[in-house]
Symmetry: C2
Subunit: 257 residues, 2 copies
């Protein structure tokens, strides 16, 4: 069989950092739905967020982008590190796992291999338009797919907590930084951006107040064009002012709705 | 010589996680001044934030509290993890360091010891009243003291960035969570709490607006007592409603000033 990146870590122990890895909470938005990309190891009924090991030659951010690219094929995802998770309970049953990995990959893995040690996970989240992504599962996974954030399956270790904390961080984040450029069409209506914020925040936002704040900081600008969405209905279109958008990403600002 | 915790790590390699450690940005507030606790290794002209290694038996939070206790003697500090830092450039000159540590501690340390590997730092910040703290320097440090956050000395690696990011996280944090209980007297005046927020945020806050928001969420309550601070000046005293304060710490709320 071909050895993939996943398989190589069992041989190349000196190429990777021990005791610390990255996990990615990949959120996907599409048409009022917020989902998260999870994977399921072979013969295990529980799911995990996607993640991987850190090479000695790369930063933690580079590691997170590399392993996200492996699953989604996307290269320029906006990544935000939100928390690290680490405690001695975060270990898997190495006897069970070593046996399984050996069976699946054909590589003989010892139960005292370093991959079964206590690992601190540095966790990142990202947000993408999930209809754009073609998911690729890893060699050791039975499945990898999108789950609605409010209907998560049974998850391994503290991975449900990791998703919950990522969601909390995302919600605080969008109170200070602009979002939406990768998630909405280039030109969008107010109801479209309003639905995006309401879906992520999981609460309804006063229409007029929302629009006022959105326009006030100049990140969103009204166009002269309208969108024809049916008889007598042609709302104005809006777009992002990219310069202000990128400034906002850099500096942070208070956009609390 | 007595072997302290710091010295023991050179012997007990199997007791600690490799490639990952904790750093603490310990902020101190007192009377309109915001400072940070830094330490200076022997024979090095640069300073670092305080930090340490993680035992295999403890969580990253327990490690952060243990190493903070070693420096400050304080046990119940409110800790907030804000970011991890990790890239291959974060390594020290192990030849120089091994020689120095051997000279200072009397323990023979090899330049290829695991403590000189690439380390991911999981960073926490905390905020305390610095007049309450008696600082204890470590065995390998020439000095450990408070520095004003705006007058930092030369610092090692990316430690200036770590302080800067901690400050940014602290400022976002106080827009969502209450602060002040450990930093102000039990009963305080509005100018006292106003000065606390202005010092941390490093900007002036409109007096009336600040007071209105502070009272509105019920975390701060007005007392019937006044404080006598001179001829014809006796401002009302306020205190925290501890139940609401703790709820706010748990749930987060928008307190943006």
């Amino acid at each position: 069989m071909n050895k993939t990146t996943e398989a190589n870590i069992f041989d190349n122990e000196h190429d990777y950092l021990h005791n610390v890895a990255v996990d990615n909470v990949i959120f996907g938005y599409h048409d009022k739905e917020l989902k998260v990309l999870l994977q399921q190891p072979f013969s295990v009924h529980k799911w995990t967020v996607t993640g991987g090991y850190i090479k000695k030659t790369e930063s933690i951010e580079q590691a997170a982008r590399r392993v996200a690219f492996d699953r989604t094929g996307l290269k320029n995802l906006y990544f935000e590190q939100f928390r690290a998770f680490g405690n001695p309970q975060r270990v898997i049953d190495s006897g069970f796992s070593a046996k399984h990995i050996s069976e699946i990959s054909g590589i003989n893995v010892s139960p005292d291999h370093w991959v079964f040690d206590y690992f601190v996970s540095v966790a990142f989240y990202t947000l993408t338009e999930f209809s754009k992504v073609s998911v690729k599962k890893g060699q050791l996974e039975a499945d990898c797919k999108w789950w609605p954030v409010n209907e998560l399956p049974q998850m391994m270790f503290d991975h449900k907590l990791i998703v919950k904390e990522a969601l909390k961080a995302l919600r605080i984040h969008i109170a200070h930084y602009p979002i939406g450029y990768e998630l909405l069409p280039e030109k969008f209506t107010l109801p479209e951006i309003h639905a995006l914020y309401e879906t992520i925040l999981e609460k309804s936002l006063d229409d007029r107040n929302f629009t006022r704040k959105l326009i006030a900081n100049g990140i969103v600008v009204k166009l002269k064009e309208t969108k024809n969405i049916g008889a007598h209905r042609s709302p104005y279109l809006y777009k992002f002012d990219l310069e202000k958008y990128n400034e906002g990403l850099k500096d942070g600002d208070v956009l609390v709705f």
